[in-house]
Symmetry: C2
Subunit: 584 residues, 2 copies
Amino acid sequence: MLRTHTCGELRMEDCGKRVQLAGWLQRSRDLGGMTFVDLRDRYGITQLVFNMDINAELCEKARKLSREYVLQVEGVVSERSSKNKNLPTGDIEILVDGITVLNPSKTPPFTIEDNTDGGEELRMKYRYLDLRRNCVKKNLELRHRLSILIRNYMNDLGFMEIETPYLIRSTPEGARDFVVPSRVNPNEFYALPQSPQTFKQLLMVSGYDRYFQIVRCFRDEDLRADRQPEFTQVDCEMSFVEQEDVLQTFEGLIKYLFKQVKGLQLEDFPRMTYADAMRYYGSDKPDTRFGMRFVELDDIVKGNGFAVFDSAELVVGICAEGCANYTRKQLDELTDFVKRPQVGASGLVYIKYNEDGTFKSSVDKFFTADKLKAVAERFKASPGDLMLVMAGKREKTQTSLSCLRLEMGSRLGLRDPFNYSPLWVVDFPLLEWDEETGRYYAKHHPFTSPKPEDYPKLFTSPGEVRANAYDLVVNGTEIGGGSIRIHDRKMQNDMFKALGFSEEEAQEQFGFLLGAFEYGAPPHGGLAFGFDRMCSMFAGVETIRDFIAFPKNNKARDVMSESPSPISEAQLEELNIALIHKEQ
Amino acid sequence: MLRTHTCGELRMEDCGKRVQLAGWLQRSRDLGGMTFVDLRDRYGITQLVFNMDINAELCEKARKLSREYVLQVEGVVSERSSKNKNLPTGDIEILVDGITVLNPSKTPPFTIEDNTDGGEELRMKYRYLDLRRNCVKKNLELRHRLSILIRNYMNDLGFMEIETPYLIRSTPEGARDFVVPSRVNPNEFYALPQSPQTFKQLLMVSGYDRYFQIVRCFRDEDLRADRQPEFTQVDCEMSFVEQEDVLQTFEGLIKYLFKQVKGLQLEDFPRMTYADAMRYYGSDKPDTRFGMRFVELDDIVKGNGFAVFDSAELVVGICAEGCANYTRKQLDELTDFVKRPQVGASGLVYIKYNEDGTFKSSVDKFFTADKLKAVAERFKASPGDLMLVMAGKREKTQTSLSCLRLEMGSRLGLRDPFNYSPLWVVDFPLLEWDEETGRYYAKHHPFTSPKPEDYPKLFTSPGEVRANAYDLVVNGTEIGGGSIRIHDRKMQNDMFKALGFSEEEAQEQFGFLLGAFEYGAPPHGGLAFGFDRMCSMFAGVETIRDFIAFPKNNKARDVMSESPSPISEAQLEELNIALIHKEQ
């Protein structure tokens, strides 16, 4: 070892010890007779002292060292005269009597500090330097810790981690599959898994009744703000269980993690149906850290001559407590907010319930004070509150109002990232109608089972069939989701029929899984957590990119290694493929 | 839960309890008045009893069930009259009073038994049924257990598991890279990593001084007997260490695993130089469970008129104790063995040291008894021993004799798979000459450091430079290997020069890593274990395929899902690639 201790471990009780440390030069201060150097490694920072009076040559040498040099030093631990209470090693320093430059460093393009002067792009290009920053290191440490905790918890419950293949069969519908040409099997391709769904179900057929895996997944889609082409899932499946068993098992896991990582003992997670989530929050992942639930107003406000309301499929609003004093400017800001394309509303109606009991609204000419009072009563509003109302097509209005609700929650400081509000959303619809293609798609995936009581409606009113599907939502973010699967061959065939698959298509895509189901598939179900997202949630941070050691940007590029990149003609030839150059 | 207990847990003390079990019908025996059914799940087998006298209808129902049906049963635990000592649950049985068929099963194409009647190909096609067999399950359980043990051991030592990308930059020399076309970045490709080598070195530059990862790796090579296109490594790297630190750390890990998994407390692992391994065993992964070391004979046997010896670069042999009584037939077998193309020798000389002290050899006409006696003395042979001698080019002869040594070890029962003989092979050559291309290649990889004392020879006698590289060998199988890396830019440039890389080529291939090295790379080194191989070693089994849930065959195909497979024209088009159809 090139060191006897790390830069994070020496304390007062070590004074007098002769030690060797190794690390990076964080900072150097030259005070004339003395030179102080902060030496940094993964574990902390230790102050080194060089004294002109004691060893002028060594001190001169120390003064020539620059930031990020890799040093090995030898010396004696001693008590500092001016202690640094912010540093665990702040009581001591090393009186250095020997120094070796293990490696010099060019001046880094940005400072290695939590508050760095480097922009996102520069830091991604030099990710190996960005990773030196304490705040990034903390994220990766949290990720490592979570993975260890999860694995041991699952292992203790008898779950086996089983590795499933990364080179799998591409499915004709797999437009978002990354594919891999096979050299050994010319003109044939593997796909990279979007999830190990098929394999984990096969493992259930094989009798491995408690499976999990922390596993990479791949999706070749146009990247939205915070998506990555490769991401990590905590993938789980169980046999001989019902929905309640799955929820209990993984609620236990999440509670355990909160206890271990945050020291929080969470209450049992509330459950909410998908229908209620949409009705009261306009979202299938409601942020329940605050109330401000939707209130529907159709029966009160329709028929008063206000065309926007009268022609709407839904009139719905929220009540922002204590916001009646919002200025014209603030109200205009909110109107502008809802008109942004991401929110997509055409307008916003406000009703101020003034402190003096009067009302002031943007629709005063259509509504009497009594009407507005009735509205306020529906909202259970009090004087001083502000009601914000939107109208239009049901789903679109709900979605827009959901955005406004979150915005108001943020403005009112109701969304503390360290106040955790977990929630199971259950009873998702089995199918989802797609206007564009004019057919139903599986909301979850084609192996999700319908609720037994809704199964008869699969062909009569498919849109109404609810699934044994569930999501875990924390603070408005989906952390995971899953379902009880279909294990019955007839039900699976019906499902494919409802999805408009011919028997051949179903066979072509899922043949080997359907085949497996004929040899004794047990009842089973499971879920998958987004591990990157889970890490960011525990850290109270929005972006997942900060929790991935080497992330890609929103063009799916790694700007550090300049990947993807062209490959040679010889390599293409060997793989039996040629490039098509399209006009851009 | 659809069960109260598993099929492996009920014992005498549970008698009288009402239980629910779920599982697969393993076997059914109809004894007239009684029907016995063995119900199997992941945890074991429990006997179910149906009695015609008690419940004829239920008994009739039970008789109609076939192998691998999925059943849920309810009943009372009771003591068996004839106990089965081979089964942990063999003292009890379930008097069943309710049965539900959760799923029927077609008759499986082979029996779900350790000694199945299914051949390799059939079992791979129905891998999900093969995985039900107890012997296969045990393998995956071992794999899971090892992964948990490794992770916790490494975590306890302060190693962080950090996930590195699977979609990485392809390198021009990466002929064995699997590549992935990028849809979002037309005509550009990712590669799948052959190992996370570059990233783990970057992590060292970033200051994560103890990294590990259990990680999938990919290699698109023509598959030899027991290779897989995707395989798993336990990948590790440390900073501020020397070779001795790495060896000690991972010897500790392996000893810990042996203790936990096999209950064995291993002695410190011996070390052997590559030179000695070649000289005494003709292999860089010697099986040291038995001696039979090579003995070189040139000085004794040359110049006696036997042209085969006289013209040889090396005359070398082994002594098989107690084999002087080998028959003509047995000796012919050995000669045939060494002449097989895989061994590649042109012949074999034997010298029998008979019990009566006389000699009998295939080269009697060239050698006097005294000469043969001198040879025997060199071998330290005793009467009753058989000496087997080969001659020819040095390396080729060593390799052939190594095969013969292993064959003799097997014949003499000296290779018990449960007798573990670990060994560090150290001081590997840095470079390896390739006749075909007429240049040196890195024996390990281009970042491996030379031994300081050999560095000056890098350009004068490159073939003699030894590396700080090491392999862990157990019972003749390489379990892992690694090296101390180059952290100095000048040394790295010299290394590339020795490998015949131009500066541009080095920059093109490893630019971002070389760039990173200029910002303060610490001294570092590490190793990687082949995890599939490690599992098979602990199980005392030869093939790694048995330790992979869904392996591919030696044409890199998954015969279960029929992967790889053609993909659609639309998908190709979207990826901007076209197929080239070559004549076969």
